[in-house]
């Protein structure tokens, strides 16, 4: 088959670019350690996640080591629990693992200004870990359509200075 020289050059350049793109993502996953949302969270009860062994009463908990926290968030039409009526509060310089589960329909859990962005699918638990090094406030939005009150579904995540974080009051 006749392929024009320019076409061959273009083909090789395009293929190299594709390999490069796949390479950067592989680097991110393997070397930089970026963890995707995946199947590790397992399944939970689709209408009341708190009754499942892998889920807990919504709130902030101490993690497996110092400076680590686990936050259990239940999403339901049209609120994050916690997050909407009271903010989620974690200290700065911490590593936080969010466990997100839905009690009704699909929702999104996006912490604005970070790369925490996961779906909440009834019956599944999403697990995503992030580091917070600065004290600041983040918005939380539901970014998947969940019904006619979807635009009201938002909340806040407060990363507060460690000195102001009162573990006994904040942590369950």
């Amino acid at each position: 088959m006749h392929v024009h020289r320019f076409e061959r050059v273009w083909l090789v350049a395009a293929l190299s670019m594709i390999v490069l793109f796949v390479g950067t993502v592989t680097f991110g996953a393997v070397v930089a350690g970026y963890g995707m949302v995946d199947a590790e969270g397992g399944q939970v009860d689709p209408t009341d996640p708190t009754t499942s062994e892998s889920f807990r009463e919504p709130g902030v908990y101490n993690g497996s080591e110092a400076g680590h926290y686990d936050v259990y968030v239940e999403t339901r039409r049209f609120a994050f629990v916690p997050g909407t009526t009271e903010p989620i509060r974690v200290p700065a310089n911490s590593t936080v693992t969010f466990h997100v589960a839905s009690a009704d329909v699909l929702h999104g859990f996006e912490v604005v200004g970070t790369n925490i962005n996961t779906m909440a699918i009834p019956g599944q638990k999403a697990v995503v870990t992030a580091e917070f090094d600065k004290a600041r406030e983040h918005g939380i939005v539901c970014n998947e359509y969940c019904g006619e009150g979807h635009h009201d579904m938002a909340g806040t995540l407060e990363v507060i200075p460690q000195s102001e974080f009162n573990a006994s009051a904040e942590v369950q």
Binding site: M1, H2, H4, F6, E7, W10, L11, A14, M17, I18, F21, V22, T24, V25, Y34, M36, V37, D38, A39, G41, Q43, V44, D45, P46, T47, R76, R77, F78, D104, V105, L106, G108, E110, V112, G113, N115, I116, N117, T118, A120, I121, P122, G123, Q124, K125, A126, E137, G139, V141, N143, E144, Y145, G147, E148, G149, H150, H151, D152, A154, T156
Partner: protein, 594 residues
């Protein structure tokens, strides 16, 4: 010419017959195919007009420029209508018309059975009307229809059964349409053993094979799960499974939008540019690549989903990245063909040849501008496809910013441009309001440039998509580039220009529809010059449809076999999630926020 006395006379007579034939408009040569194409276009353009009006309502509502048309909780019915009418009905009725034209033209034969063709058109139309009734019934309290489930209709949100039944009917209509084109091809093959498949028919057949493979997913989703759920025959579904079935279909449908555009860029744009196609073999390779790679990529819409192992997402990402290849090759061929045309028209220089292109011809200008925007959309798509960077943009306004460049411009503007060229041939009427047609592609281009750049940047700031009021009491978004009010303004102005652009297009088509035949010669004909490198340069294996369909199925099994098995293994209806019918929001709102 049937009375010719020897072979030589016959040949001459046929050749001269052919020449006369090429001068006849398509409508005179193939009246049945022209009629079906006209009917499909009529539905397509109606859907475009309604969808575009819904579009401006959204653009002004979201940006808080004007919220007087609808209440925020009705925004989602508008959004559902916009998505379904434009992404499914405008595009796919257009595809049905174009492919009917392309098979008839390139095979040189009219429809095998006009009644059968009318039947599939009727089924598609009936389905589309039912779906639309279900959606727009949501605005009227007395009508028990509700379908504000958006065009992705994720369970356990549940629409009225009419919505799912209509979708199913429409889908079967598309299957029968494909059968019609395959049958034409088989008839032609019977008369022409050993000949190369004409390029346009080749494109139609590869596209339809892809469609059969991919629509299986949504057919199972609708017929096995969602329709029975909405009828109360089953009481729960697994939303992860139905969502996975949707995206098994949902990404190939993207190529179902794009293939008519590629079809036009490869076979028509080079001629409009004043030249000819650069390479027929490369065009065939591109369509084969789309057939085999379009389906095993759906998990790239589910990067942010729990319940799917990272490895499966990685396989989908790799396939997705390789799916860039046919688009990169297309960029080369399209630009090379245009440059060839420009140089034939006397263009010269490294870039100056572009000035020699027929920018005042609306069919050319629309397709060329669409191709240019597709390049930008391709690059924002690469960001979506990268499974780690995707976290920054997933479900933000970046995503609709991206697909308004692809389906909303590469496909939509090419379809409008193609209509300027094709519509006169299927009606025998000269294009009316030519001045408006000349301006229209530029109006669309400017509108989209404004709207889409702002949507991309808003997405980077974290502004979510699919939201009536992306303004929150608890916090405000921080723009990475520009400012939020400036982005809102660009979205509102851009959206207004786009609706104007759609209106101009429909005005031109309506004026042409109502014009009399014979008001001046048609400016167009459907004769295509031979490619620079013709089908004789393409290996014959490229025309082996069975082989490529088999490869496509194997790749689908590799990408989907294990993950779907693991979702079904715990029971196809587990985890059992009860339905949440849309339209009963008041109690839910009262309960949670009250």
């Amino acid at each position: 010419m049937a009375h010719a006395h020897d072979d030589r006379t016959t040949e001459t007579a046929e050749q001269s017959g052919l020449v006369t034939g090429e001068r006849l408009a398509f409508v005179d040569r193939y009246p049945s195919a022209a009629r079906i194409t006209r009917l499909c276009f009529g539905v397509s353009f109606s859907a475009l007009l309604v969808g575009a009006i819904l579009g401006i309502v959204q653009a002004l509502h979201r940006t808080n420029v004007f919220r007087g048309v609808i209440e925020s909780n009705d925004y989602y019915s508008v959004l559902t209508g916009h998505g379904v009418l434009l992404a499914l009905f405008f595009t796919i009725f257009f595809l049905s018309g174009t492919f009917t034209w392309g098979t008839a033209r390139s095979l040189g034969r009219d429809l095998p059975s006009p009644r059968f063709s009318l039947a599939w058109f009727g089924l598609q139309l009936g389905g589309a009307v039912a779906v639309s009734a279900a959606i727009f019934g949501g605005f009227v309290g007395e009508i028990p229809f509700e379908a504000d489930v958006l065009y992705t209709f994720y369970a356990p949100l549940q629409a009225h059964p009419l919505f799912y039944a209509g979708l199913a009917a429409w889908l079967v209509g598309t299957w029968l349409a494909g059968f019609d084109w395959i049958r034409s091809y088989l008839h032609w093959r019977g008369d022409n053993p050993g000949e190369r498949v004409p390029l346009q028919t080749f494109m139609v057949l590869t596209t339809m094979l892809m469609w059969y493979i991919s629509t299986l997913g949504v057919a199972v989703e609708v017929l096995v799960f969602l329709l029975p759920l909405s009828l109360g025959l089953i009481d729960a579904v697994d939303p992860l499974l139905t969502r996975t079935l949707f995206w098994y279909f949902g990404h190939p449908v993207v190529y179902f939008w794009l293939m008519p555009a590629y079809f036009a860029w490869y076979t028509i744009l080079p001629k409009l540019a004043g030249g000819r196609l650069f390479s027929d073999p490369l065009a065939r390779i591109v369509f084969v690549l789309f057939l085999i790679l379009s389906t095993p990529v759906g998990f790239h819409h589910q990067y942010a989903d729990p319940g799917i192992a990272e490895g499966f997402k990685f396989v989908a990402m790799t396939n997705t990245m390789f799916l860039l290849l046919p688009s990169f090759l297309t960029a080369f061929t399209v630009v090379a063909s245009m440059e060839y045309g420009a140089r034939q028209r006397g263009g010269s220089g490294y870039f100056a040849w572009m000035k020699s292109l027929p920018w005042a011809n609306p069919a050319f200008a629309g397709m060329a501008l669409a191709g240019l925007m597709f390049a930008a959309g391709g690059f924002s798509g690469i960001v979506n496809a990268g499974m780690n960077i995707n976290s920054l943009v997933h479900n933000t306004l970046w995503v609709p910013g991206h697909f308004h460049l692809t389906v909303g411009t590469a496909s939509a503007l090419t379809m409008m441009a193609l209509s300027y060229w094709l519509y006169p041939q299927i009606t025998g009427k000269r294009l009316q309001l030519y001045g408006l047609a000349q301006v229209q592609p530029y109006v669309w281009f400017i509108g989209m440039a404004l709207m889409s750049n702002a949507m991309h940047r808003a997405g980077l700031a974290g502004v979510p998509r699919r939201t009536a009021e992306p303004q929150y009491d608890q916090f405000s978004f921080e723009a990475v580039l520009g400012s939020i009010p400036e982005m809102r303004l660009q979205i509102a102005v851009g959206g207004t220009l786009l609706t104007l652009g759609a209106g101009l297009f429909v005005a031109v088509m309506l004026a042409t529809w109502f014009a009399d035949r014979g008001r001046g010669r048609l400016r167009v004909d459907s004769h295509f010059p031979e490619p620079v490198s013709g089908p004789e340069d393409a290996p014959r294996v490229l025309d082996n449809f069975k082989l490529w369909a088999a490869v496509a199925v194997v790749l689908v099994v590799i990408a989907y076999g294990f993950p779907v098995f693991s979702m079904v293994a715990d029971g196809p209806f587990d985890p059992a999630v009860p339905p949440v019918p849309v339209g009963v929001v008041d109690t839910a709102l009262g309960g949670v926020l009250g």
